[in-house]
Amino acid sequence: MNNLHLLTIIAEDALASSIEREIVGMGAKGYTASSVSGKGLHGVRDNQWEGENVKIETIVSEDSCKRILGHLQVKYFDRYAMIAFYHPVHVVRTTHFL
């Protein structure tokens, strides 16, 4: 399908560069990243001593979205502080993202 989704990954900042590399390897044509803090099952992550989080957003086809999520689940989800979610979005130039 050509439906585009905005996939958001929030994870420990130490994982940022691996995740970025991997999602590009699995079909994402780009991504946007920013520093965030947060709280979840792994406790509070809001300072550089204990680590903070990175938020990585990428607009991808439904296919790539599923593929990336599958990969993240296997490689990271059980061992690291991390969540991921997605929803459909409308974009201006679909070709930019495929």
């Binding site: 420990e12 130490a14 994982l15 520093s35 406790g43 300072n47 550089q48 001593w49 204990e50 680590g51 903070e52 296997v74 490689k75 061992r79 690291y80």
Partner: protein, 322 residues
Amino acid sequence: MLTSILSPMVLAFLLGIIASRVKSDLKFPDSLYQSLTIYLLIAIGIKGGHKLSLATFAEVWQPSLVAIGLCCTIPLWTYWLMRKVGKFDVPNAAALAAHYGSVSAVTFSAALAFHESLHIPYEGFMPSMLAMMEIPAILIGISLARINTSSMEGVTQVPLKEVARELLAGKSSLLLIGFLVIGFLAGDTGWDQVSPLFDTPFKGVLTLFLLEAGLVAGRKLSDLRKGGAFLFGFGILFPILHACIGIALGHFIGLSMGGATILGVLASSASYIAAPAACRVALPEANPSYYLTSALAITFPFNIMLGLPLYHEIAKMIYQIN
């Protein structure tokens, strides 16, 4: 002892703890923390390199061997103790081993400041010991976890070689070692150019950093219970033991009393910059509450407040008796 406790650095650390206990909104911006870290590592490195350039190889090789020996064996018995006595699981025991084998640049600096304020001389090349002792223990800790974990199914682990590369290229060793070399090469001219930034205001910057360290340590205090009495006792007794070993070995190889004490402080200190960063990635199963709390909220304050004067007394004993 009062000299140590009433120094602006220690007082700033205490103020940080108070601030976090009274839930102050005082917060260092992330980038200030990062900038202070960069500054401290560069300053320690470049001054050490400059001093090293004034030393001879004959003076340096023995202390270096001892330093490396210390940071390679400390993780071994720490791991053993954590497993057998502390009943920790493999990742947590390994992470604690990595932290206590490695060293704390800030404790080290506090030790230098302590000796300077008492006008006790020490060998100028001590920062190179710091640089040498930072990484090996972390690698050993991580290896211990790898060896003792029956093949983790499905989990793709980062190869140890990769971990070693990342540690060496990691911020803290890169800056420490890099500026050690720069300070060594730049000579007196170079030192005069940069010392107004990297030497003169150093203790002031350390004060700032310790305020921030206190803020974090204060938050971690409430985690102390999780670690329990064992971790608390360990976090104080083991550093004392390591300090004694370090001082004794320093005395044995002919270091000055100041130098031996500082070697003891290095042995006794636990890393809370390089080691936590490495463990978060390579040992994600280990719980930061254990290693960070004990390194930052127990051992670190103990060392800078009570440890320094204590080790100094111990050193005086060893050097006078013998």
